[in-house]
């Protein structure tokens, strides 16, 4: 598994979100320039996994954003990993994660 999510971005629309699988996993939402705004997880409490989460993101953010997903059963540890890698790469969490950071987030220095 690659450390960073590096799949191509897809436009976040009602249609692209609707086509997503109902599986567990992690995702990133970015603005039109590709700046990551939020790293999220679709856990077992999401009614339709990634689909539910990205539909909610679209409803809250509207047009103009992009996203990418990774289906992953280890959605929690992968989510922590992506947050720590982002922090190591950029010196801070994505803007929308920084508003409500997870307690006790660790630190990585990936090579």
């Amino acid at each position: 598994m690659r450390l960073r999510l590096d799949k191509p971005w897809q436009p976040l629309t009602a249609e692209t979100a609707r086509r997503l699988p109902g599986q567990l996993g992690v995702y990133q939402v970015a603005d039109a320039r590709g700046t990551v705004l939020y790293i999220g997880q679709a856990g077992a409490r999401s009614p339709f996994g990634l689909r539910s989460e990205l539909q909610r993101e679209y409803e809250e953010r509207g047009d103009g954003c992009q996203f990418r997903v990774e289906v992953n059963q280890q959605y929690r540890s992968r989510w922590f990993e992506l947050l720590m890698v982002h922090q190591a790469d950029h010196g801070s969490l994505p803007a929308d994660n920084a508003k409500n950071p997870p307690p006790n987030l660790g630190r990585l220095s990936p090579s």
């Binding site: 929690r76 540890s77 660790g106 090579s111």
Partner: protein, 388 residues
């Protein structure tokens, strides 16, 4: 040996059982099924409760301010604390506090001031750095991380893997080879501050236990002074060995707690669920699975309490600890597996805690010394000088 709890032990058991049922289970029902932490406000509220119960810092020795709990009582309480979804690895979400690493109690006064006391006050967290990519079951031979003498200190180079909490800790205990010619007697234990130049947490290691992760560490020309040596040079492995042996007893108790919870769920379900016009509990195939569960649980509990009682009396308990760890981790896995089978499709879902216990219980056959190593320890006793 009489393993019936005393009146005082029973009172504590009842108190912890109530705490799990009234405080932990309702909160847990709202969390993600793979969560391993409570929201900070709930954690704070519940630690105040455990302090009021007189049980906070349950693993801290009395002389360092912990409650006066002997290891047998500790086992009985550990069995209760584990009886919820996250209970195998995070009993009661850590609201009974932690003691930090056992070795740090053996530190010198200066080290105790810098590391032990801040840890007991909850100001510092630690990690335990023993296992390496070259192997974990035989660390005395597998350790390749080197520490070489330089400028009144030591320079560490090497890697560690499967290390929990290294990304969050302020310091860790790290084992490195200081004399390549001495094998087991060439390992030294160091205390490494996480901000030491040359110390890196390189990556997250994902495992079956998706609620939590381990990390991989790298030491690259990481210099530490002589003041960071824990114990004596070339005698570090004895420190780790002692810890690994002692930890097997409460480790086994956690497996028993989860097995009991899974078994109780299976009994309840078997009494309620009907197939082809008959309750599951009326079917011999299901009855026998429940009987086997009962036997696995009682066996593990007996051996674990026996190990704890010997440790409490100051008698040798190495073999007993191995038997306890072996029977509880293997028996616990079988119990959870049978409970899932009895639940059918529901047992596979994240709606119930069984699937998390199934994944996490599998790790228990490897963690804290795999089953094969425990059998090796027991075999040495059977075939060695103490032949009975």
């Amino acid at each position: 040996m009489d393993f019936e709890p005393s009146a005082e032990q029973q009172m504590l058991i009842d108190q912890v059982r109530r705490y799990v049922r009234e405080e932990i289970l309702p909160l847990e029902a709202k969390l993600d099924p793979d969560a391993s932490e409570l929201p900070p406000e709930d954690f704070k509220r519940l630690t105040e409760k455990t302090k009021a119960m007189g049980l906070f810092g349950i693993d801290i020795p009395k002389e360092f301010g912990g409650p006066d709990i002997d290891i047998v009582t500790r086992v009985l309480l550990a069995i209760e604390m584990a009886q919820h979804r996250a209970g195998l690895y995070v009993p009661c979400y850590g609201t009974f506090g932690g003691a930090g690493l056992a070795q740090i109690f053996e530190a010198n006064e200066d080290q105790k001031e810098r590391y032990l006391y801040p840890t007991l006050r909850g100001e510092k967290k630690a990690f335990f750095g023993l296992t390496e990519p070259s192997g974990g079951s035989d660390p005395a031979r597998a350790i390749q991380t080197r520490a070489e003498r330089k400028d009144n200190g030591w320079v560490l180079n090497g890697a560690k893997i499967f290390i929990s909490n290294a990304d969050r800790a302020q310091y860790g205990i790290v084992f490195a080879r200081t004399d390549a010619s001495k094998g087991r007697a060439g390992i030294t234990c160091f205390i490494i501050d996480s901000d030491t130049p040359g110390f890196h947490v390189r990556r997250v290691v994902h495992t079956l236990r998706s609620s939590h992760y381990a990390t991989e560490l790298e030491f690259k020309d990481c210099w530490v002074s002589d003041h960071q040596v824990l114990g004596e040079v070339n005698k570090g492995f004895a420190v780790a060995n002692d810890r690994l042996t002692r930890q097997r007893i409460p480790y086994a108790a956690g497996c028993i707690g989860v097995a009991i919870a899974a078994h109780e769920m299976a009994i309840e379900w078997a009494k309620m669920r009907s197939t082809f016009g008959e309750k599951l509990s009326h079917r011999q195939a299901v009855q026998w699975m429940l009987v086997d569960n009962e036997i696995d649980i009682r066996t593990a509990k007996h051996f674990t309490l026996e190990a704890a009682e010997k440790a409490r009396r100051g008698l040798p308990f190495r073999i007993e600890a191995s038997i306890a760890k072996l029977t509880a981790s293997e028996g616990g896995g079988r119990v959870v597996d049978r409970a899932m089978q009895i639940h059918g499709g529901m047992g596979m879902t994240k709606d119930l805690p069984l699937e998390r216990w199934y994944r996490e219980m599998r790790i228990r056959r490897v963690g804290e010394g795999p089953s094969e190593v425990q059998r090796m320890v027991i075999a040495r006793e059977i075939l060695g000088s103490n032949l009975r």
